[in-house]
C-alpha cells in the first residue's frame, strides 16, 4: 500500500503550485485556474483522511463531493464576473484593473 503521507505530500505540492499561480498570474482566468488546483489539493486531503482514518459512512468522500459542487458554482460565478469585467473594462489583466485603487 502507498503510505498516507505520500498522498498528503502530493496534495501539499499541488497546493503550493496553486498558490504560486495565484501570486504570479496576471490574467484573471489564470488565477481562477489556480484556485481550482488548490481546491483539488484540498479534495485529495479529504479523501485521504476519509480512507486512512476510517469514517464509517464515507464522510471524507461526501465532503469532497460538496467541495466539487461548490467549486463548480464558484467557477461559474467567477467566469461570469470575468466576462462582465471584460465587457466594461476591455481587459482581464488584473494589474490594469485598478479602478477602485485609491
Amino acid at each position: 500500500m502507498i503510505p498516507q503521507s505520500h498522498f498528503l505530500i502530493l496534495s501539499a505540492l499541488l497546493f503550493s503550485i496553486g498558490v504560486f499561480g495565484i501570486l504570479t498570474r496576471k490574467n484573471a482566468i489564470g488565477i481562477l485556474m489556480s484556485i481550482e488546483l488548490i481546491l483539488n489539493a484540498a479534495n485529495i486531503n479529504l479523501i485521504t483522511f476519509g480512507k486512512f482514518l476510517g469514517s464509517p459512512d464515507g464522510l471524507g468522500q461526501i465532503f469532497a463531493l460538496f467541495v466539487i459542487a461548490i467549486a463548480a458554482a464558484s467557477a461559474v460565478v467567477g467566469l461570469g464576473l470575468v466576462i462582465s469585467i471584460y465587457r466594461n473594462a476591455k481587459t482581464i489583466l488584473v494589474n490594469k484593473l485598478n479602478l477602485m485603487k485609491w
Partner: protein, 180 residues
Amino acid sequence: MSGLIQVLNNSLLSQDAVIKATFYPIAFLTLFFAFLVVMSRSIFHSVIYLAFTLIGIAGIYLYLDAEFLAIVQVLIYVGAIVTLFIFTIMLTTQADTEPIRGTVRRMWAGALAGFAIFLILSKVITMTTWHIGLPEAAFVNLRELGRSLMSKYALPFEVISLISLAALVGVIVIGRGRKR
C-alpha cells in the same frame, strides 16, 4: 479498484508492486501538468494542461478507493468546468500577444511563498504520527455513500442544490449586463 485488484490477483505480478509502479508516475505527471498550468505563456495552453491535471487527480482518487469521486471529477471538472474556461477564454482574450506573466520580482516572491508553504506543510506531515493499519475497514462502496448522502447528510445535500440555483440565477444576472 476492487475489480482491478481481482484481475491483478490472478496475474503473476504482486498487486502491491503494480500499485506502487503505477502510482508514482501518475502522481509525477499530475504535478508536472499542474506546473505547466501556472507556467505556460499562453492561457489557452494552460487550460488544456489543467484538463490533464484534473484527469491525473481522478487517477489519484482511484488509488484512494474513491471510484465515484473519480467519475464525478472527470464529468464535472473535465466535462463542464474546463469547457466553461475555454469558452470564457475565447470570449475575452484578444490575442496571444498580451503579457501573461508579471515582473521577475513578482515571480520570485510567488516562488518563495509557494516554497515556504510547501516546506511548512511537508514538515507538519512528516512530523505527525498518523494512524495506520485500518485501510480495509474504511472501504466505502457506492451504495453506502448514496445511502448516507440521502439520510444522514440530506440537509447539506439540499443546501448544495440551493447554492447551485443561486449560482445559476446570479450568473445570468451578472452575465446579461445592463438592459438597453
